[in-house]
Symmetry: D2
Subunit: 342 residues, 4 copies
């Protein structure tokens, strides 16, 4: 059986990544590609690397007949996504890759994103899309809200430690290193090759990055009390990849054991032997997340490092994994691509 798929926001990087993954899925047919600003163009014009595929031309969202669509991926910008989704059929299965339906509390949404939510009714339906921790809900969901790419990485490193009560909740520091595609295909000066290559900087320093809304929501729920982590992202001269270096107070061996046990059966989460550290090179272009645990020379301190590809496990791969569940497919279908190294 072949599922009919629509992708909205097909002219962005996460849209292209969805097409790349679906190309070898075998059980999905892309019937519509929406991209208002580039409607009328062929996908080969917008993304020449996909020219070998037989794909529909880009159209506006209005032109799509959703009655023929089994599942719709929304890879639209934040805020646009809620406006679009609230006008889609209410029985259409949707995987949203934007930030719009991640936060369950509308006031938290407003605090982090600066505007009132325009589709609060729909937000109630949304399931948070961190597959490994919401698998059953996702399987039955109509609308899944894909996580932030940084938020996914940090949660893979931390959730079992929080739920296992293994760490001091007031002393959690996430220092993240992110590739540039996390910022999308947007024309900003700091994303130019000339500005970005051969150097690095921190940004959104001091607790202002929006993915903190997700950390707060998820970690506080897990802990049963408010948890606020420190989180500093850095922009690196690389296209794909997130490396989260997480500093915690806790017993390194217990932490390694908890992560190993939690992810033992997970097809995409690999916990390395104790003392080894992952590299974003080793997950590039794949849906895998590698996690390493090391003890510090200071007793009672551990460093957990997690690496994934922001475009794959951090967004489009996660989205496909969730779509597989929603459609009754094998969860890993189309996602077993080995990382592209070197």
């Amino acid at each position: 059986m072949t599922h009919k798929i629509a992708i909205l926001g097909a002219s962005g990087y996460t849209g292209a990544e969805l097409v790349r993954l679906i190309a070898t899925h075998g059980g999905m047919e892309i019937v519509a590609l929406g991209a208002n600003s580039k409607a009328g163009q062929s996908m080969a014009e917008v993304f020449p690397h996909l020219r070998h595929l037989d794909l529909p031309d880009l159209v506006t969202v209005d032109e799509i007949d959703f009655a023929t669509v089994d599942l719709c991926f929304c890879a639209l910008p934040h805020k646009t996504s809620q406006e679009v989704i609230k006008n889609l059929p209410r029985d259409l299965k949707i995987v949203d890759l934007s930030a719009d339906f991640r936060l369950r509390d509308p006031s938290a949404y407003q605090a982090w994103y600066g505007n009132a939510h325009a589709a609060t009714e729909i937000q109630k339906e949304a399931v948070y899309g961190l597959t490994e921790f919401y698998r059953d809900e996702i399987r039955n969901a109509r609308l899944v809200a894909g996580t932030g790419c940084n938020a996914a990485t940090g949660q893979y490193a931390l959730r079992p430690l929080i739920s296992g009560e293994l760490i001091d909740l007031d002393e959690i520091i996430l220092d993240l290193k992110c590739g540039v595609t996390g910022a999308g295909r947007s024309l900003k000066e700091n994303l130019l090759h000339a500005e970005l290559s051969e150097g690095t900087n921190a940004y959104a320093v001091g607790g202002t990055h929006r993915h903190l809304g997700e950390f707060d929501q998820e970690f506080s729920t897990l802990a049963g009390r408010p948890v606020e982590v420190q989180f500093t992202p850095h922009l690196l001269p690389m296209n794909r990849g997130i490396l989260a270096t997480v500093y915690v107070h806790g017993d390194p061996d217990a932490i390694h054991a908890a992560l190993s046990e939690a992810y033992l059966s997970e097809p995409f989460l690999e916990v390395l032997p104790f003392g080894e550290t992952p590299s974003t090179h080793q997950v590039r272009g794949s849906n895998f997340c590698h996690i390493g645990v090391t003890g510090d020379r200071k007793p009672g301190r551990a460093i957990v490092v997690a690496a994934l590809d922001n475009l794959t496990k951090g967004s489009s791969g996660q989205a496909l994994q969730n779509a597989n569940l929603m459609l009754g497919e094998d969860e890993t279908r189309g996602l077993m691509l080995a990382p592209c190294f070197p």
Copy 2:
């Protein structure tokens, strides 16, 4: 039916690329990984990006029981390859990725490689592995000699022009731009990140690059007279990719028509609309080759630009394509991965 596969030289980049491609092939099982210098290690130690796969540990070539192997990929260094292959069973199907069996004339081999060939009898069996032009021979071959990555790129741009008698054979210039993995995983100063990133240089200038042996052999055979092209490779700060800019004297429209017709049914060779030019970004990690033709302002001059990924279409992808033919599989099996962009 699952074919039993051995890979010799599994600790190099082309070896790893073979494993990456076979990982989603579905009809092949890797039963042996040979790498004398790293024998005893697991593949996860040598290439951590492959850690999710269930692979045999690395062994020496001597430890492999070839009786259980249906096809062997040899991804060994030049000269080593002929020494190893001459001691392998004479009925074993082999796809060699080295330079050792590309040149049919032993004296040409000696001239370009500086040593007498140690397995001239076996060389007689070898079929040149440029799939699209030797498909039938490859299907029936025991030993296929993978082409040089630069040699493949240049031939895709030029063969139909030569066989169609469309260009001046004395005025052919190939200016190639190559990514660094073409040089393998070797510890050389000029391959260090610090020496290579953010700059470029030509090398083997003036007609000294060994892939010229292949160009001479193939183009002279095609033309029925000696053909010597000019060929200058350049090392670029990128890991994968070859861009061949080929300058010829001939009619641009006729050239475009000839290439379009020649590759009309080819699954991996894409001729762009007249006047468009390809980019190595658009083929990265894939088995596709994009080819563009443009006329120059000087009448009777054309520029043909061809782009492929040296590790895939230029070596390991080509090798798998040939292996599929030799094993009676669909030629494209395992090779339809979309390029990994960005």
Copy 3:
């Protein structure tokens, strides 16, 4: 004696490069920085790497009192430059870095740039800024037109061969590899890190690049007959640097001798020993140009490779070199910075 300097277009890369070079010149004081779109900002906001310098804030061009200025660098976009310069005092010394005054023939200007020239009277005054070949004229010039960065590189490789009648004028191919800063600080999709890093492509293929106007003008003048070269630029994933690989018909030894002799006393042009090839790494951030000559295996063919930094010797360094001449300073003052490698 300290010369008072104004820089128009100070918010672009060539503007910043001028400030970088002047910072250690010792005989120049920057009294005005013009940048209409960023007027009111400090240079530290626009270019934080210059924050240690005591510089005036950015202003609009109208706000500058040119009566106090000894020499003005115009690093404005093409077309804007002529509009601005025609309104500047007619006795102000100007070094223009745009394309506006490079072509002596207004019809050639219109053909390459698509618009009528708005300051043809001023154009008559302009001296072409290729220092080594127009030194005396520059010394006495009021207005010097900086060359195109590609045009400079190609001319360094070719001028002595043309004036020496050493090569076939109908068979000249320039294959150029350019870093991304050649395109300026402009927000274009193909200049994003995600689109550019780890790959390459040709552009303006077939004789459409505007720097051909300069090649045509200069080479035809030198040869005393029309000369049209073939010229294909490529965009490389690096910030600075141009490598010109020039294919000619001629005697390699005579070519090497001619270049060596021509540049024997030049402080910035280094001809390498015969058979060696330069690298853009080796000139990064400096005003040097390295040139190598190699013979091809085809008799009577030579390859000349020239490397320079497009922001320095290709534009702002050249501009400062010319300004030194115009101001009676030592030509090399402020320009002896060693290349920044690695």
Copy 4:
């Protein structure tokens, strides 16, 4: 007056960087370049970017007549340096760039470096080379021990906070991002372009990096009690630059004030306005260090980010700064090069 300079270890990156800086110093003449493994070669062969300079050929250390040398830079590998220096004249002024004389306590040296120190008598003479904090001692020193590049970056961020008693000494985390030249010109697999570009990883996780020996020594001395920081370096795909992201418990405003005051008169240390963050792009190729302070959303937490170029301010620039002091020169001579951006 021109000082006669020798550089030992001239074939490495810090050696080349010393030559680059001295090239525009004006008061130094390089009279000897030592490099045992490349003795007999010219500097132009080893570092072609320095070919325009009139430099002596490389020689073995034994061939150098130190009687004619005013000051010797030792840019040799760790352990080799102490062996060589103990055999140099006891009145020769030396700036050592290795790790050999940084740690005052021989047992600390042995603990971090794994071998007994071979020149403990000389070690007693050594002054720690962090210029801004040991300026007077350096001025009178015979032997200055250059700091580790990571150690310098971290200390610039932290020393005024520790001496000002502004932070909790038990909760200091330094997350460092380092360019690849910090590892020198060594042929290691992980330093290859193919392995390093487009990805990142942590290394020496958990408190095993040798620069911790310097942090421990300096911070404990400052605090008057043992201080152990957490320190995790990361390797980034860039050639130059260190970004230290330092997490502390303390009042952000007081921290910013303390840093601003401490570095008010320092020519190379720039404290940014509160809330701004530095970038390694902005210091590349220069001797400047940019420092930013931001408060976290968690009260009482601050993030200090420091950026410098490891080859310049982190090693060779620092070395030249110290040499200037030792020779009675202006401390900033030869070091006011503006950063090379982009």
